[in-house]
Amino acid sequence: MTTASLPEIAEIWDWLSEVPDPEIPVVSVTELGIIRDARYEGGTLVVAVTPTYSGCPATSVIDMMIEAKLREKGVEDLRLERRLSPPWTTDWVSEAAREKLSAFGIAPPIDGTASDGGMAAKAARLSGKSNLSVACPRCGSANTERISQFGSTPCKASWRCKDCLEPFDYFKCI
């Protein structure tokens, strides 16, 4: 591929937005905020990806899916770069993705529920309940409680609705 025919970076981003998260396929890797940069170094396309959780087993699958998508679009000279800093935060999950998560049955992250909320977390612990209400993605009730800080994937916690009685995943805030 000659330099003149390299695809525009905006087009690269469009292509990346077609790559779904392998664990939560309703959202794309761009909506999750894990693509930190796409640029050319000479004729090489460099895509910087940040992991959500350090040990997330999806990380290498995501790299592979990005690679496969870009190859399919005709990109030949490609390098993936792992970027650790700044560390990924759920603040980077887009608005559109939050709505899709909710429709998929996963309560989206709520600011202020991260563990490093310090005082808020301590107050919540002493009062025996959460400081912020996480809405049930099924019935919308705010009358919910945390069952466990962890869930089916590293990025989720287990909650339950005290009105419709359904358990659900909460995309935990970090």
């Binding site: 350090s54 790299d63 770069e81």
Partner: protein
């Protein structure tokens, strides 16, 4: 669960390169004079995470309730993630082409640099949770220092990534220590027994040596004893809430950081390293 995928060798190469490539430049990574000490210290961080991660994973499928089983497995997964970061950097610093997997699977017990605390058997849930808590409180203090003060950008960025997860671990362990310590007579007795059993292994966290001193001088790492105050504050606050007694400081078991381990580490490695030892280079 991630999908089972068949990686072609070209795909695996791209994946492995991505795992290695970091855009952050750091003069300490190629500092020949510091190399032996820096490599050793990175192994200490990586091996703590690896050995505790392995111990914690032993609960997978055996937790007392499903939520605890999942929580322990996720905690183990986070720790294995930290291992990949620390040992990955250790391999780069060493410069002999060993990656995180090779360091984890192909070193023998005497080359491991983890604290003795993390290699002790899991015992009951009380011992498991108390060990987690005592370690998390130290881990959190150590990572906080590294983020705020380390002159090594690569070390600081790993710490900044890891602390998000470690904060979660500390919060969960604190909750459970309080709930069980201030729980029934039986749960209280087991938690106090766990404290008494593990306490002589906590002193090692605050013991400095010549290797560490070299890195302290370079501004990369904290002197171990400086973390004690923060650790003691966290532990005493939670113990008070949990109605547990903090033992007097007495004898400390030492040696893990220098590669002198208890008999338990060899058994962990025999299980953890079996596949790579029996089928060298196996990958899938």
């Amino acid at each position: 669960m991630s999908a089972v995928v068949d990686l072609s060798s070209a795909e695996r190469e791209v994946r492995d390169k991505a795992a290695m490539a970091s855009p952050v430049s750091d003069r300490f990574v190629t500092d020949a004079a510091l190399k032996p000490a820096f490599f050793d210290w990175l192994c200490r961080m990586g091996d703590n995470a690896l050995v505790l991660g392995h111990r914690t994973s032993e609960w997978c499928g055996h937790g007392p309730v499903l939520e605890e089983d999942i929580a322990l497995a996720n905690t183990a997964l986070d720790l294995i993630g930290h291992t990949q970061l620390w040992l990955g950097l250790a391999g780069e610093v060493e410069g002999r082409g060993r990656d995180a997997d090779q360091l984890a699977y192909l070193r023998d017990a005497a080359q491991f640099r983890n604290l003795l605390l993390v290699e002790l058997p899991n015992g009951d849930m009380g011992v498991t949770l108390m060990r987690e808590f005592l370690f998390d409180a130290w881990h959190h203090a150590c990572l906080s220092w590294l983020i705020a003060h380390s002159q090594s950008p690569r070390v600081a960025e790993i710490a900044a990534k890891a602390i998000k997860e470690v904060t979660y671990h500390l919060e969960r362990a604190s909750d459970l220590v309080v709930r069980l310590g201030d729980g029934s007579g039986e749960s209280h007795a087991r938690m106090q027994a766990a404290v008494d059993l593990l306490w002589p292994y906590t002193g090692e966290m605050f013991k400095s040596d010549a290797i560490e001193a070299e890195l302290v001088k370079a501004g990369i790492v904290p002197a171990s004893e400086t973390l004690r105050e923060t650790w003691e504050r966290t532990v005493s606050e939670i113990f008070e809430e949990a109605t547990l007694d903090m033992p007097e400081d007495g004898y400390s078991h030492l040696g893990g950081k220098q590669g002198r381990h208890t008999e338990h580490l060899g058994f962990i490695l025999a299980e953890m390293q079996f596949l790579q030892r029996a089928y060298p280079g196996a990958s899938w």
